[in-house]
Subunit: 339 residues, 2 copies
């Protein structure tokens, strides 16, 4: 194991002070009037011995870790794993690394992790806030650490956030379903006050009201066993003889599809929130309200990095349009309807 070379080793080898070396390495040669000759000499030697600063020492001194904390609901959900991928890429380009965790609806763990990330002095937070996290997030702000909320926000806590235009997305999906001559159009959602769920419900309502039709809304318990979800979705669709259904998350739609397939019940017309590989390939392929992950994460990182750098004091509350991707599930003539 070869020993790491330190800044003091360089100074000693060249017969100069560590200060000079440090200034040069931090691009302060000009500002601190270090001669060009000296600068070149140091830089050459640094390259030769392959010196890399110890980030821990650097961070301890400067207070900057160049690490961002990412807290998502569930990293294994394709929506979030895609988000994680883009975020890592964007953060890397901006010189940051990501430390992540899944919260899995465990409020206690979420709180602990936020505290732990704060103890690790992360430069900023990216959070998909679950309910009950208001205080914790307010606490982060009080400690003056930049935070950007994502996917949903907390109305009572004033922070940056980047979300999709869920209301409009739900409105357009519902309207699309209604325009295909479906009368009984339902919404399958969650017992949740999170903004994205609230907005999707509002969008659905707006469309239903516009068409002056009765609404059918089924809410499921957050984090309930999948079997319960499947049973309830099935019951809702069958008992109400739904013509069409909008699912407010991709995993609810997946549960619905599983339930229907298991009982060999023909699909109602349907659409779902959030893209999923399954949806393109399912037979029939599934219409979705797709969030623009690339743009969302871009704005996200830009906002966070700008805040960390101390630029732009005012809060950014960003809403990105969704895209309705129409596939077979919302328009096909189903098999038994042929006859």
């Amino acid at each position: 194991m070869k020993k790491r070379v330190l800044i003091s080793d360089i100074a000693k080898a060249l017969g100069i002070s560590v200060t000079t070396v440090s200034f040069i390495l931090n691009d302060k040669a000009k500002e601190k009037r270090i001669s060009d000759a000296m600068t070149k000499r140091v830089l050459d030697y640094v390259k030769k011995v392959g010196y890399k600063p110890n980030q821990l020492a650097k961070s301890l001194r400067t207070g900057q870790t160049k690490i961002l904390g990412l807290l998502v609901e569930d990293i294994a959900n394709p929506f979030f794993s895609n988000v994680a991928k883009y975020i890592e890429r964007q953060a890397y380009d901006a010189g940051y690394h990501i430390i992540y965790c899944s919260m899995n609806n465990d409020g206690q763990k979420a709180k602990e992790l936020i505290q732990m990330f704060m103890d690790r002095q992360v430069d900023g937070f990216i959070i998909t806030p679950s309910e009950g996290l208001e205080d914790t997030i307010a606490n982060i702000r009080q400690n003056n650490i930049p935070v950007v909320l994502f996917d949903r926000y907390i109305p009572t806590v004033d922070t940056h956030y980047v979300v999709s235009d869920n209301k409009k997305g739900a409105y357009e999906a519902t309207k699309h379903l209604l325009e295909n001559e479906n009368k009984r159009v339902g919404l399958i959602s969650l017992y949740s006050n999170q903004t994205q769920m609230r907005d999707r419900l509002e969008g659905y309502m707006q469309a239903m009201d516009e068409f002056q039709l009765q609404s059918y809304i089924k809410k499921l318990q957050l984090g309930a066993p999948e079997q319960d979800a499947k049973d309830q979705i099935l019951e809702f669709i069958v008992d109400n003889k739904m013509d069409a259904v909008l699912f407010s998350t991709n995993y609810l739609a997946v549960s619905g599809l599983k339930a229907l397939k298991e009982h060999r019940i023909p699909l109602p017309r349907m659409a779902a929130f959030d893209e999923h590989t399954l949806f393109k390939l399912h037979d029939p392929s599934i219409t979705v309200v797709s969030q623009n992950i690339e743009q969302l994460t871009k704005e996200l990182i830009q906002t966070l990095v700008a805040d960390i750098a101390g630029r732009s004091k005012e809060l950014r509350k960003i809403t990105i349009p969704c895209e309705l991707i129409i596939r077979e599930s919302s328009i096909v003539t189903l098999p038994e309807q042929i006859s």
Copy 2:
């Protein structure tokens, strides 16, 4: 913004030295003969003011960061995002945090990131090694940093690794396909010398040899545009009139399914490596060789943590069995075969 409380603040407030406080906080009170009364006094006060040590300072002094570096091929691939989820959970239980990145077949980025993670003094690495990383990984070992390879390993570099029994998995899947009276059974794989690909090929071969049948092997370029993959898979299946096909990765199978669907060509019997939500719900549902992610990650973290702790000097080379999950795609009588 309330100021962080430091160990020196505690010492000052209680009129004692920082050493005493530090010993007590690090559970060395007994060993260092600190009186019980003092221990209790300090612990009570620490709890009262909610002191949390600055991890940076701690890490700088001890050399332990309690951070693990995770480098995977693509975090958005459902196999790896599941791995990421389990790893984070297991690591958390062991007191570690995860810093991750996707390498996306970019060897240069992989090297840079490994170097950066080393500069950050990660306590250990978890890597799915791509080709060309031999030297870099050997370099990590030379710096005495624990590494566990995952999903595949590098035969020429002696490290811990945890992989699935790919050969047996491929053998059983192929045999299963052969036993369903298919004569022309092909393998769709990648131009890659990675061990998992090599083993899957070997497993396929073994089964084909056992049945004394001609083998059909199509390899695709790693990281090629999906359209190319789709075209080539289609051509392979159609031109060779394949009865059945084994896909060596889940995303190859997804590409294949897309291509067949787009051209409305009936599916051959098929099986694929690695689970995917799509596969359970596809019509027909897809038979898979499933890796036991929970067990893989458990062994992985155990191995890594044990090495970091300095226990167990010898290298652990672990192979976990795969499970063949038989679904419709490998056994159903297809529509056009009814007539």
